[in-house]
Amino acid sequence: MAQYLFLFFAAICAGGAVNLLIQRKTINSALSLIVVMGSLALIYLLLGAEFVAVIQVIIYAGAIMVLFVFVIMLLNAGEEEQAKGSRVAKIVGIPGLFIGGIIGIWVLLQHAPLQKTMIPIGALYGPADQVGMMLFTKYLLAFEVTSVLVLIAIMGAVVLARRSHS
């Protein structure tokens, strides 16, 4: 049952990622990225990462994607211009991508410790209180530095997006 659930969500996730590459219009790419993030949140829930699943929905699918869609509508970003790709990229790149992908899949599926390690649903339960305790004890310095980073980012965004009067 767990495998079918995982395969279902993984298929949605991979389909959204491929759709992001195929679509020509920016807004369609943004919407398929939201699909990827939503299904990833469900996969996090399968792994038991409760807190991460919730902040994935709130921060990524909520805050960041709203910002993206807002900018797309503000700039009226329509269809993407077709660029003619170089011939070397087509001749070397596409077969190289296939060979590299097949080698990667083969290694991951043949590697015995990875293949034999089975994870049951919710293997490592990570609720908000335990993650919060670690955040405010072991990683307190990193947390404080992050708050400074966010403050600088807010000020930078305001300064950059402001219309200059000169």
């Binding site: 996730c13 991460v52 970003a77 991951l108 980012a153 950059l160």
Partner: protein, 100 residues
């Protein structure tokens, strides 16, 4: 029971899609979304290995990655708005001068 390699395969696939989009797309906003896709792939790896090792440290790292991604998106989109105001295009091939 799900093998750990399935999660890693999905993570690698998402990262590869992000790299492909970053290299082939020409729209600034789509490039940004490809970067977010790569970050998501890495986050899935973090959570998988946290489960494998049995510690919650990976969850904390994912939290920090998300905060940095949010800051990056805010500053990056502000830069995109500023670029569009001066160049009136979102095509990266046409943004090839540092100073107008």
């Amino acid at each position: 029971m799900i093998p750990i390699s399935w999660y890693l395969l999905l993570s690698a696939f998402l990262f590869a899609c992000g790299v492909t989009g970053f290299l082939t797309k020409r729209n600034l906003i789509t490039l940004f979304m490809s970067i977010e896709l790569m970050l998501n792939g890495v986050n899935l790896s973090f959570i998988t290995f946290a489960t494998r090792l049995g510690t919650l440290d990976g969850h904390i790292f994912v939290f920090f990655v998300m905060v940095v991604a949010a800051a990056e998106a805010a500053v990056g989109l502000a830069i995109i708005i500023s670029v569009y105001r001066t160049r009136e295009t979102l095509n990266v091939d046409r943004v090839n001068l540092l100073k107008l």
